[in-house]
C-alpha cells in the first residue's frame, strides 16, 4: 500500500466525511488529542485535522471532517485508492490523561468525532465519563454510538430540538451543573464560540476546563506563528504549545477574530470552486 493512500471513505451524514488513510509512521506515534496536517493536493491548503482513531498494526489513521471550504471539499471528493498529497504528524501535545474522577466531555458538531479518542482514553484511565454532545439537528449527531459505548452517561442537545434537549450543548451542560452535577474536569472541543460559552459556564461553577483549540494553521510545527493565541496574556503557538489549554486562560476574542481573518477570501474561493464543478450551493 502506498503512503497516504485512502483505504476507507464514507459519508457519516450530509457534508461530513470519515476517511482512513494509510500513514504507518503517524499511526504508530499517535496519542489522544494530537492532530495531523493534511494536504489533499499540491495546490491545496495545509489543514489541521484531529486524529479520531488509528491503528499502528493496521498502519492507518482515521480523520473526520466537514466540507466547509475549498480544501475540505477537495479532500471530501477523494476516493478509496487515491493518495493524499501530504500528511504530517502526529502534531501537538497529547491530552493529559489521568484519573480525575468524573470527566465531562463537551463536544459540538463535527468535533464530536474529535472528542471520541479523548473520552475513550479518560474512560480507560478509570474515570467516570459523562458526555454532552450537541449539533444543529439529530442527523448531524455523528459518532453518537461511539461516544455512547465509552461513556457512563450521554446527554444530547440539538439546536432545533429534533433530539434531546432543545438548545446549545453548553446550555445543557449549564442546566446539569445547576442541578448539582459536579465533574472534576470538563474537556471541551467544538466551534470557538461554543467553547467560549462553555468556559464562561464552567468558570461560574468553578470546574476546571480544558479546551482543544482550532485556529488557522499553516506549518503546524511552530515555525510561522499563524496559530498564535493569547494564553494568560502570553503569546503561545497552538500547534506546539497546545492544542489544549486551560479554557479560562484563553483570549477567546482574539481566537475568534483570527478564525475569521480570511472569511471573504474563503467564500470567494469556494464559490469559484463549486461553480467550476457545477455544484449548486445549498447553504
Amino acid at each position: 500500500m502506498m503512503n497516504f493512500e485512502i483505504i476507507n471513505r464514507k459519508n457519516l451524514t450530509e457534508g461530513i466525511v470519515e476517511m482512513d488513510v494509510h500513514a504507518p509512521r503517524v499511526a504508530c506515534a499517535a496519542r489522544p488529542g494530537q492532530f495531523v496536517i493534511v494536504m489533499a493536493c499540491e495546490e491545496c491548503e495545509r489543514i489541521p485535522l484531529t486524529l479520531v482513531d488509528w491503528s499502528c498494526r493496521g498502519g492507518w489513521i482515521r480523520l473526520v471532517f466537514q466540507e466547509v471550504g475549498v480544501s475540505t471539499y477537495k479532500l471530501g471528493m477523494m476516493d478509496v485508492g487515491e493518495r493524499l498529497y501530504h500528511v504530517a504528524g502526529p502534531l501537538g501535545n497529547p491530552t493529559h490523561i489521568d484519573k480525575f474522577g468524573t470527566v465531562a466531555i463537551v463536544a459540538g458538531g463535527v468535533a464530536i468525532a474529535a472528542a471520541y479518542p479523548i473520552a475513550r482514553a479518560f474512560k480507560e484511565a478509570g474515570n467516570t465519563v459523562v458526555s454532552f454532545i450537541g449539533a444543529r439537528n439529530s442527523r448531524l449527531l455523528i459518532y453518537r454510538d461511539h461516544i455512547a459505548k465509552i461513556s457512563d452517561e450521554v446527554h444530547i442537545s440539538t439546536d432545533d430540538g429534533s433530539e434531546g434537549f432543545k438548545g446549545f450543548v453548553t446550555q445543557l451542560l449549564e442546566k446539569r451543573l445547576a442541578d448539582g452535577f459536579k465533574p472534576d474536569l470538563v474537556w471541551v472541543v467544538g466551534p470557538a464560540p461554543m467553547m467560549r460559552s462553555c468556559s464562561v459556564v464552567t468558570k461560574r461553577f468553578g470546574v476546571k476546563t480544558i479546551a482543544s483549540l482550532n485556529p488557522i494553521m499553516v506549518c503546524g510545527m511552530g515555525m510561522c506563528g499563524a496559530c498564535r493565541v493569547r494564553i494568560k496574556n502570553e503569546i503561545r503557538f497552538t500547534c506546539v504549545d497546545g492544542p489544549e489549554f486551560d479554557a479560562w486562560d484563553v483570549d477567546w476574542d482574539e481566537l475568534l477574530h483570527r478564525l475569521s481573518a480570511y472569511r471573504e477570501e474563503e467564500s470567494y474561493a469556494l464559490k469559484l470552486f463549486l461553480e467550476s464543478r457545477g455544484i449548486k450551493v445549498s447553504r
Binding site: E45, H86, A88, M221, M223
Partner: protein, 459 residues
C-alpha cells in the same frame, strides 16, 4: 607596472518597474561574453585570499581561470569539489562579506563578482546538461539520518552519500529545501533551481522523506536504533515577537507566515492555489535583515502601493545582503531608519503603527551601535504589518531529547567538529548558530559529514 583595474561588469537585472509586477527572477545572469570579461579581471593572486573568505573553501581563482579560458565545464567541476549547490549559493551568499571582501581588487577598486561568476557557471552547466553527480560505486554499509533538508542537511547528505553511506533525510514540511523554499522568494531564488539541486541529491542515492517531524513522528532515540548516526539541521524557524501593545490585531504577520504563505503555499497565485493572503496597500515591515527585505519586496509584488522598512538603526548596520538592500531601494521600498515600533493601533485590524525615534549610542554586545530612544514618536498609516525581527532555534528536538544540551538561547551545543552532547548525534546550521547564512549552514554540514565519517570508521 601598475594598471588601473577595470571596473566590474554589473550583473544584468530586469528593470525595477518591470520586475515588481511579477515573481520572476530579478537578476538575469551573465552572458558567456560578460562572464569571460569579468573573469579576465582576476589577477590570480598566488596566496588566494578569497578562498580563505569562503566558508566551504571553493578554489575560486582556479574556477575563474577556467572561465577565462572558456572551459566552463572544468570551472563547474572545480566549484562542485567544495560546493554541492552552486546555483543556489551563487544567488544567495553574502559575497560582499566573504570571498569578495577578501579580494585584492576590493582594496584598489571593485572586487571580482565571484557570486555572479559562480552562478553563471552553475546555470551554464544546467543548460548544457553537465551532470557529474552520480551514485558512488561502493556502499560503505552504514546509514545516517539527517533531520531537516535546509542547506546544512543537504550538504551532510550529499557528502556522506558520495562516501557511500545510505542517507535518509527527514523533513517536516511537504517540500524539502528549508528556508530555500519557504523563506527566500522566487524572484531571488527560483524554486526550479532548488528542485534541480535536490534532484541531484536523489540521484546520488539519498532518500528524502517528507512529513516526518522528528520529536513527534519519530524520536531521535528511534532514529539511533535504525541509523549509525543522526545529524540535526532543523534550523532557526521560531519567530520572535515585539511584545508591544496591539500586536494581536488582525493583519499583523510574522515574516515567516507571510513568506511561507507566498513561497511555499503560492498564495500569490490564489485562488488557483488555495492558500489566501492579505495583500494590503500600505505595508510596514519591521526589521533590517534578509527576511525583512524579502517580505517588503514580496509585498510590492503583491500590489502594495507603499512599503516601508522600519529599522531601529541605520542603513549601515542592516544585516541584509547589500545587493538586496539596493534592489529593494531600486524597487521603491521606503526606508525609515532610527525608529522603533512602540504600538500597533486599530480596532480589529491594524490601521497604524506608532514609532519612537531613536539615535545611535555606544556599541552593544553585537558590536553595533546601540539604538537609544529619544521620546519623540511618529505614526504611520498601514493596513498590513510584517514582523521580521529574528528567530529563535526550533525547540522541538532538544525539548524531546534532554540528552541534547542547549545554551541559554536554545541553540544546540556542539564541539568544533559538530558533535552534540549525545553520542552519535551531530548538529549544525542555524540550530547551532542561531541565525546564520546559507553558506555557513553548508560549512557546518561539511564539518559534520567529515566528523561522522571519522567517528564511524575509526571504531
Amino acid at each position: 607596472m601598475m594598471v588601473k583595474p577595470k571596473t566590474r561588469i554589473p550583473i544584468p537585472k530586469r528593470p525595477a518597474e518591470e520586475r515588481i509586477k511579477d515573481f520572476n527572477e530579478v537578476a538575469v545572469g551573465y552572458t558567456e561574453k560578460e562572464a569571460i570579461e569579468e573573469a579576465s579581471r582576476c589577477i590570480q593572486c598566488p596566496d588566494k585570499p578569497c578562498v580563505a573568505g569562503c566558508p566551504v573553501g571553493v578554489d575560486i581563482p582556479r574556477f575563474i581561470k577556467f572561465i577565462r579560458e572558456k572551459r566552463f565545464e572544468e570551472a563547474y567541476k572545480v566549484i562542485k569539489e567544495r560546493c554541492p549547490i552552486p546555483a543556489i549559493t551563487g544567488r544567495v551568499c553574502p559575497q560582499e562579506k566573504q570571498c569578495e571582501k577578501m579580494c585584492r581588487l576590493a582594496k584598489i577598486g571593485q572586487s571580482i563578482a565571484i557570486g555572479a561568476l559562480e552562478r553563471f557557471v552553475a546555470d551554464w552547466a544546467e543548460e548544457h546538461g553537465i551532470y557529474i553527480d552520480k551514485k558512488p560505486d561502493q556502499q560503505i554499509g552504514k546509514s545516517v539520518a539527517v533531520v531537516g533538508s535546509g542547506p546544512a542537511g543537504i550538504v551532510v547528505a550529499s557528502d556522506l552519500a558520495r562516501l557511500g553511506y545510505q542517507v535518509t533525510v527527514f523533513e517536516a514540511l511537504h517540500v524539502p529545501g528549508g528556508v530555500l523554499v519557504y523563506g527566500i522568494p522566487e524572484f531571488r531564488l527560483p524554486k526550479k533551481i532548488v528542485n534541480e539541486e535536490l534532484k541531484k541529491l536523489k540521484d546520488i542515492g539519498v532518500d528524502i522523506e517528507t512529513g516526518v517531524i522528528v520529536g513527534k513522528t519519530v524520536t531521535v532515540y528511534d532514529l539511533l536504533k535504525e541509523f549509525d548516526a543522526v545529524f540535526i539541521g532543523s534550523g532557526a524557524g521560531n519567530p520572535r515577537f515585539l511584545n508591544i501593545p496591539g500586536e494581536d490585531l488582525g493583519r499583523i504577520y510574522t515574516a515567516n507566515e507571510y513568506l511561507t504563505r507566498v513561497n511555499l503555499m503560492r498564495a500569490y497565485m490564489f485562488p488557483a492555489y488555495d492558500t489566501p493572503i492579505h495583500k494590503g496597500k500600505r505595508v510596514a515591515v519591521i526589521g533590517g535583515g534578509n527576511t525583512a527585505m524579502d517580505a517588503a519586496r514580496t509585498a510590492l509584488r503583491l500590489g502594495a502601493e507603499e512599503v516601508y522598512i522600519v529599522y531601529r538603526r541605520t542603513r549601515r548596520e542592516m544585516p541584509a545582503r547589500e545587493e538586496e538592500i539596493a534592489n529593494a531601494e531600486e524597487e521603491g521600498v521606503k526606508f525609515l531608519f532610527l525608529v522603533q515600533p512602540v504600538e500597533f493601533l486599530g480596532k480589529s485590524k491594524v490601521e497604524a503603527l506608532k514609532l519612537e525615534k531613536m539615535r545611535l549610542g555606544e556599541p552593544d554586545e553585537t558590536g553595533r551601535p546601540r539604538p537609544i530612544p529619544t521620546g519623540e514618536t511618529i505614526t504611520i498609516d498601514i493596513d498590513i504589518a510584517i514582523t521580521a525581527i529574528g528567530f529563535n532555534p526550533n525547540p522541538l528536538i532538544p525539548k524531546t531529547t534532554p540528552e541534547i544540551k542547549t545554551d541559554e538561547h536554545g541553540r544546540i551545543i556542539v564541539d568544533k567538529e559538530a558533535r552534540t552532547t549525545m553520542p552519535r548525534v551531530y548538529a549544525g546550521g542555524d540550530i547551532v548558530v542561531g541565525e546564520g547564512t546559507v553558506i555557513e549552514a553548508m560549512g557546518w554540514g561539511r564539518t559534520a559529514a567529515r566528523t561522522i565519517h571519522k567517528d564511524l570508521t575509526s571504531t
